[in-house]
């Protein structure tokens, strides 16, 4: 398992240089709340045909900065992005709230109590 | 195609596969996960079963004189058996029987009485702790 640190501004170029549709399988986008308004974001990939070969792109951010979307490169990422917009209240371009939550549900349930 | 037609014709004369429960009783297998049963004499009131239960189906009430009362809700229980595994005396005080639980009726009070009992137990615990703390302070001030 390999963890690579990246930043929000260089994310699109890093994944563009790394991703090859025939070799890597995109798993999901994950967010972990670290308290005090900070969030850790992870993009997880695994290799086809190899044993336990997982690559994670890791970065830390806060809730105000907009997160770049990788849908133009990996078309199936829109489901995971809609989920973290619902659960954490992040801002991603071209994605809006409404996958799991209704108009009168709680706002961003997985954000820690602040 | 002909084979499927022949199979469909034979099915007219085969016996019915479903069991008409509750007119006819069904046979439960050996080791079926049934109700949890309790014996008050052997219990040492260590509270391990209450802490380990995932949905909170066993709740103890703390009487002010010092003894505890056990109550179990068979309609919240998931019959996992964790309480039996955590008990220090698993076959004498608490064990897993093979009786099937029945459906709940309105007079069992599953939705109202059980939640009142849970709130009363929590309040009784806090009252007991507060009474003990104040008794300790009083004893210290006497010395």
């Amino acid at each position: 398992m390999m963890k690579i640190e990246t930043t929000l501004s260089t994310l699109a170029e890093d994944i563009n240089a790394f991703y090859d549709a025939r070799q890597w399988h995109f798993l999901t986008v994950n967010g972990i709340d670290l308290g005090e308004g900070k969030i850790e974001l992870q993009w997880i990939f695994s290799r086809y045909g190899a044993k336990d070969d997982i690559v994670i792109y890791n970065t830390q951010s806060d809730y105000e900065t907009p997160v770049p979307s990788i849908v133009s490169l990996i078309p199936s990422a829109f489901m995971s992005e809609r989920e973290i917009v619902d659960m954490f209240g992040l801002k991603i371009e071209g994605t809006e709230r409404g996958l799991y939550l209704d108009k009168d549900s709680l706002e961003h349930p997985l954000r820690g109590e602040s | 195609m002909l084979k499927a037609l022949l199979e469909a014709f034979k099915n007219l004369f085969k016996p019915i596969r479903t069991i008409d429960y509750p007119a006819r009783d069904m046979t439960l297998p050996q080791g079926y996960r049934g109700l949890i049963e309790y014996d008050k004499e052997a219990c040492i009131f260590c509270d391990k079963c209450e802490k380990v239960c995932p949905p909170g189906a066993i709740v103890f009430y703390q009487h002010p004189e010092g003894e505890k009362e056990y109550r179990y809700n068979p309609w919240v229980c998931i019959y996992c058996g964790e309480c039996v595994r955590a008990c220090p005396k698993p076959d004498e005080a608490l064990w897993h029987s093979e009786t099937k639980q029945s459906a709940a009726f309105k007079e069992d009070g599953v939705n109202t009485e059980w939640f009142e009992w849970e709130a009363a137990c929590k309040a009784s615990r806090e009252a007991y702790k507060a009474a003990k703390a104040s008794a300790k302070i009083q004893k210290k001030s006497e010395e």
């Binding site: 798993l27 190899a50 336990d52 990996i74 829109f78 489901m79 | 080791g31």
Partner: protein, 361 residues
């Protein structure tokens, strides 16, 4: 002037088993655009695992995310927690866990085949397959005490053991089942009315499977060789005779055959386990609290299931992230609908085997 019509395959439909809503944009019965709405059954399981339950009880909570793949959820969480506690199970525990996972795979695939046959109009075959599935449900009830939610796996081992009478019951029922599966394979291949509904309908090509990250039997029916049982070191699958099943063609007929051949392979694996189970303890005590981060992937009947668990040394966990197979398969499913007729949509949807309670946790 071209005009498109919006037709819903709504959340209430006579052929639908799961609560999902599609909005199709159709030109004269041919589908050109798809919009999907999942999330009717969202219950907030990820939040409950970190607020209301301690780490020893989370295995029972997480098993109730789905009914058909309950044991794979509970197994993945338990493996992740054992990795954080630094504990490795002995051989007998590993083989017993694999036995229950393979039995679960057999009954889930039979349910999907029955539902696909029903949507093609052959309701008698649906009843027959469900009746034959009772052979496996009897075995599961005898081993674990319940037909659907097993509660069989705990941190440190399994809860019940396998006696010689149970091993005899397993062998007897599996022999009876394998004759019926052989008869089913002849029927699905040769019956004329079923082949009109299945061959050449709902095609996903290999290129599209790579682009949209398809997984599970949906990907293996197009020729993409991906299966977590061959890509992980946690379980000794090669030792009991696992083979990867691939077909080419990508239509509904190929998916049915991937599932049928996987059932045959699973029957062989279960028989191997029942004959050669190593000796040992079934439950061992573990000490400590979970600290750090662990990732686990397990092959559920519908694809790849992924768990990420993070703890900080206390009784409550910090983050439990669940990624279910149907959730990742929705983009590929939406792609298959484009270009087919509207009347084929229920049969195509049943052949995907969607599980909505997994998707909207």
């Amino acid at each position: 002037m071209k005009k498109t019509v919006h037709i819903p395959l709504g959340s209430q439909h006579i052929s639908l088993l799961e609560p999902i809503r599609f909005k199709f944009e159709c030109e004269n019965e041919k589908i050109v655009g798809v919009d999907a709405d999942v999330g009717f059954v969202h219950r907030g399981v990820e939040l409950a695992c970190t607020r209301n339950f301690e780490f020893k009880q989370v295995g029972y909570v997480v098993a109730r995310v789905c009914g058909l793949c309950a044991i794979t959820h509970s197994l993945s969480y338990t493996l992740a927690a054992e990795k954080l506690l630094g504990y490795e199970a002995n051989d007998r525990i590993k083989y017993l866990r694999m036995l229950m996972v393979e039995l679960d795979r057999i009954h889930s695939h039979m349910l999907c085949l029955a539902h696909t046959a029903e949507n093609a109009g052959f309701e008698a075959l649906f009843m027959q397959i469900m009746g034959d599935r009772e052979l496996i449900m009897d075995v599961q009830e005898a081993i674990s005490g319940n037909r659907v939610q097993f509660d069989f796996i705990a941190i440190g081992g399994v809860n019940r053991d396998l006696t010689p009478e149970l091993a005899d019951l397993i062998r007897h029922n599996l022999t009876a089942l394998s004759e019926k599966i052989d008869a089913l394979m002849v029927l699905f291949e040769g019956n004329w009315s079923l082949s009109l509904k299945y061959k050449g309908v709902g095609v996903l090509s290999l290129e599209e499977a790579y682009i949209y990250n398809a997984l599970g039997p949906l990907a293996r029916a197009t020729g993409l060789a991906t299966d977590v049982r061959a890509e992980t070191n946690d379980f000794p699958y090669e030792a009991i005779g696992y083979k990867m099943i691939l077909e080419s063609g990508g239509d509904i007929h190929a998916r049915n055959f991937v599932r049928l051949r996987e059932i045959v392979n699973s029957i062989d694996m279960c028989r191997n386990i029942a004959d050669n189970l190593p000796a040992g303890e079934i439950q061992e005590k573990t000490k400590g609290k979970p600290k750090g981060e662990a990732l686990v992937r397990v092959e559920a009947p519908r694809g790849e299931l992924f768990y990420l668990v993070r703890g900080n040394g206390g009784n409550m966990l910090e983050r439990v992230r669940i990624k279910t197979p149907t959730f990742s398969g929705i983009p590929a499913m939406m792609e298959v609908f484009k270009g087919s007729e509207y009347a084929d949509a229920p049969a195509i949807l049943a052949s995907f085997d969607p599980c909505m309670s997994c998707t909207a946790k």
